[in-house]
Amino acid sequence: MATTEEHLADENYAVFIPNTHEGNQLLKPRSETKAKELMREVGSVLRMSEAEAAQLGDLPDDPEDDQTMIINMGPQHPSTHGVLRLMLELQGEQVLRCKPIIGYLHTGMEKTAESLTYMQGGTNVTRMDYLSPFNNELAFSMATEQLLGITGDIPERATWIRMLMVEMNRIASHLLFMATNGMDLGAVSMMIYGWREREEVLRFFQEVTGLRMNHNYIRPGGVAADLPAGWRDGVQNLLDMLPPRLDEYDILMTGQPIWRERLQGVGVITPSEALALGATGPIVRSTGVEWDLRRDMPYLEYDKLDFDVIVGSYGDAFDRYAIRLAEIRESMKLVQQIIDLMPEGDYRIQDKKVTPPPRARIDESMEALIHHFKIFTEGFKVPEGEVYVGIESPRGELGCYIASDGSPTPYRMHMRDASFTNIQCLPHMMRGGLVADAVAVISSVDPVLGGVDR
């Protein structure tokens, strides 16, 4: 091993460490873990300082370290939804402590974003939470538009197209949740149905954007292309096809005793705990907190639409399942309204600074060609400032924080992905449950590791 000094002398820091170990990320024995952390896992005193907790003097009377077993789950476990690794401390079959370990999919996208223009940024962010690409693009585009000061000039049709896509995306994402949640608990037919229905939604995406995932369709200033001819039929077919199939899910899962047995009362979390841990989306809604950014801090045109915020009451895994199933229906309701209300007009802003000239003009005019070339090579300059925009993605609040220094690339772009904070609820939800329940809990949180690690 080279010394630190030698590494620092290396010009580009590109150090490949041959024997990376997992030292600090191990679940440490209790004697070495701060009481604060232990208390957090117990969760009963989430908002107490260590001193207050010590006064209570009731650190969980857990067994000695030699009575327990620490096992490793993941990062290649089929039910950890990607590359999430969990260190579980077990006593018999009971989970006492759990430590989620992430970073196996760390792609450095925030660093990459600093060398991409705002025009290219969409291709980067769309790959973060890969099950809700439209949401990522929307957050990024809205943040950029706020910095440019053109939020009010976005054509109406662009806004409505964005809403249509984002809601369809929510349907696709929740359908995949249904599939994986079923698979994790052994309902393999549910998995097949879930993928099958999602395929139909992706087919629509492919008609519109040309891609099934990672679309880069929503861009600063509007959307990349207008909806294709006959898009209404595509959406309508989907809306006609889904309800009976969702009813099938109800028959297959919701009312089924085995399913309920596996989910009810598993991974319970209280409202105050969920809020303290910063959980958003279906997790916080399952505890009974009515918080949905679409309704409470409307963006786009959500205030013109009529939909319900689905709220659970027990905060268990079954609530989270039921909420997502109901949210699919709500999104369908929204999509139906969007079809009826879709206005005509431009699909992107006609501000020459942001939007490249239409393809046909490039063949006719040299200026247009130069302009096109400039926008795609240098990008457009964005005024100095910083902005945070939060939207409601299928997993919770998806925020985009951009600090700009007036150049065509973001000076710093940070994505606040919902999965990243939601994963922190795992130790707390799993405590006292069985290993089999741990799988149900991970599944009900529905983390997407692309978004967690960015």
Partner: protein
Amino acid sequence: MSDTVTELHGCAVSDSCGQEVIHPTREQYLDLVKALADDGYTICVDLCGVDYLHHLDRPLPDGVAPERFEVVVNLLDIGNRRRTRVRVQVPESDPVVASLFDLHPGTEAPERETYDMFGIEFTDHPDLTRILMPEDWIGHPLRKDYAIGRIPVQFKETSN
């Protein structure tokens, strides 16, 4: 914002794209977040760092001295449906800030991420270790003086 508040809990307040931003010093930081929590900002949505190495002359309100690092905290008040943002200046010579863990347990992972990516340390954080990079990684990737770099190729085709 109709009323232009320039000070809140003794800290300078600025406006960014219509959003309220509060600039406490490092000493005021923890008390400010506590005071804001009492005002209703009970949820810490996001915490991240920014390295302003190449942009030290960024616009800041009067009385706020720019430093190399900033810690940016986004707070949410779900009762009154409003957001606020807190920006703390952190000097390069002593990159240490108080941890919000006691107030908002949900900052545990974001603070670790900020430590991992920028080398900003959080006092009283229960488990300040790297979260995204391997533990023995050298350097802090999101710092501006950390080149994008690359990992050398490990496997090549055989010579014949």
